[in-house]
Symmetry: C2
Subunit: 325 residues, 2 copies
């Protein structure tokens, strides 16, 4: 057995947290030979519910789960943290403008960035799931000056998986046969799911579908999938979000497959002309616990326009919270 790693989940009594904690504790992120210490954070009013989650985690008798810490203190939750899932965020309430939402969340992620800086392992891997995820990750990172900004990422893996599964359905194949999907940009309705580089069975799929289908069916379906699920379930995607979060962290830690890159929102290094520093979803390859942005892909005009739109939204989000960076 390896030395235990410490996994922090914020908003751990929420719907996504309730899925995530059990799958991680059961060994689905790092394998059944990697002992886990779960460090669960909630706001004070949710501590009783969080205690219930801890009791259920104990009741699973998972061999991989060594210890559970349940707390409303971010410093305790991020103490020696190796992997941080930042799931808890302020949801958009009635009458709330987007700028109000950005600001309300900025406070939460400023506080958590500081707690990470002061308590976490310096090699910590952070994944922000709570929306607006990309900009929340930027805020947390800015408040953690002692930690490499590359350790702060945001989740577009759910969009990536959704795009794969929707395209697979269209082509009548299995999702895992779809290679090299890309989600560019923001985890929002401006995201650009790009199939230009996708292969299936070593064949380019771009020739198998029409531009019209891509534009008027594929792209809006992927962009609006979250809303469709809320309409059907009466609740937002929780299980699939948790599953994507595990995929993201597992690939980042253990490496991507030889066959395909994945999409992760990471600090832009200026690749593809994206404003440096914003947390932007790129195609990435992971190896030895690090990710590298896939460089020098040919970007057609159709894609260029859409990448610009989502980049521009992320630059605006950064402006809106600039005073906090």
């Amino acid at each position: 057995m390896n030395k235990p790693v410490r996994v922090t989940i914020t908003g751990a009594a929420g719907q996504i947290g309730y899925q995530l904690a059990f799958r991680i504790a059961s060994g689905q992120m790092l394998g059944v030979n990697q002992p886990i210490i779960l460090q669960l954070l909630e706001i004070t009013p949710a501590l009783s519910a969080l205690n219930g989650v801890s009791m259920e985690l104990e009741d699973c008798a998972f061999p991989t789960l060594k210890k559970i810490i349940a707390t409303d203190d971010a410093n305790e939750a991020f103490d020696q943290c190796d992997f941080g899932f930042l799931v808890g965020a302020m949801p958009r309430g009635p009458g709330m403008e987007r700028s109000d939402l950005l600001e309300a969340n900025a406070k939460i992620f400023t506080h958590q960035g500081l707690a990470i800086n002061n308590n976490a392992n310096k090699n910590v891997k952070i994944l922000v799931v709570g929306n607006p995820a990309n900009t929340n990750a930027l805020i947390a990172s800015s408040n953690a000056p002692d930690i490499d900004p590359k350790n702060f990422t945001a989740m577009t893996r759910l969009d990536h998986n959704r795009a794969k599964s929707y395209l697979a359905k269209k082509l009548g194949v299995q999702s895992n046969e779809i290679q090299n999907m890309i989600i560019w940009g923001n985890h929002s309705a401006t995201q650009y799911p790009d199939i230009s580089h996708v292969t299936c069975d070593d064949q380019r799929v771009l020739d198998a579908v029409s531009l019209e289908w891509i534009e008027s069916d594929f792209i809006p379906t992927v962009q609006q999938r979250g809303a469709e699920i809320i309409k059907a379930r009466g609740a937002s995607s929780a299980a699939s979000a948790a599953s994507a979060a595990i995929d993201h962290m597992r690939d980042w830690s253990l490496g991507t497959s030889d066959k395909s890159w994945v999409s992760m929102a990471v600090p832009s290094d200026g690749s593809y002309g994206i404003s440096p520093g914003i947390i932007f979803s790129f195609p990435v390859i992971c190896k030895d616990g690090n990710f590298e942005i896939v460089k020098d892909l040919k970007i057609n005009e159709f894609s260029k326009d859409r990448i610009l739109i989502t980049e521009s939204e992320l630059r605006e989000e950064r402006s809106a919270i600039e005073s906090l960076l």
Copy 2:
């Protein structure tokens, strides 16, 4: 890759189903080399929510998940079924007597027993999770005359896991060091968690704890754990119930470890003087897809009394629905 197996989940849009479906689809029940076809059943008013669950399952892009069927027709849900999780049940409403509850559920499980009989694989493995689980399993089995009654079981694995984890906490060890726990009887407050045969690190634990602790702390804590979790979470155990259901079905299919038996509620063969035919939780060992009740354990007087109480409750439940058998 093996030939896909068909896994049916009833009540699949409910809280337990929402945990169970994703963990099974991800390969946690039978391993990542076993393709799965999920057959999800719900009542008609929950079909929209079930559709949302199916969408999320697609969005996970699990390599093991070959197909999803979502339906309100039990015949379709159990078509060629290899593994059936009977989770959906009528909960106890305000003013409802226990006999009303038994009858309301008897209708559901009569119908599903028939659907299993007429559609499922003859080697189907059925696990009833929906309460009153033991008697629901008996009803389903009675209505499936073409299927061996041994293929119908009910879940006490959650109680088993809870008992292990609570005892482990007391002894300051990990849950997986606790071997040979037994839950006897009914999945209800009369269940008897028995530590007489438990070993930890090859030592009997009975000498390490007091009879007083067993009687006034351990037994009532395990029996009332579900109620405690509802109090803390504001909702009943879903994730830990789903986890136990996977443990039950995995061990039944792939075999128990050499080190320890597990608890399963199975048709009594008269062992330990238990009325033949009732679905009673015993210690069992599983191998080659079959379970065997562990025989000839020495039962002390303390245990005998408690086993009688839970057996008598199950005999009463059987009497209450006798006309339907």
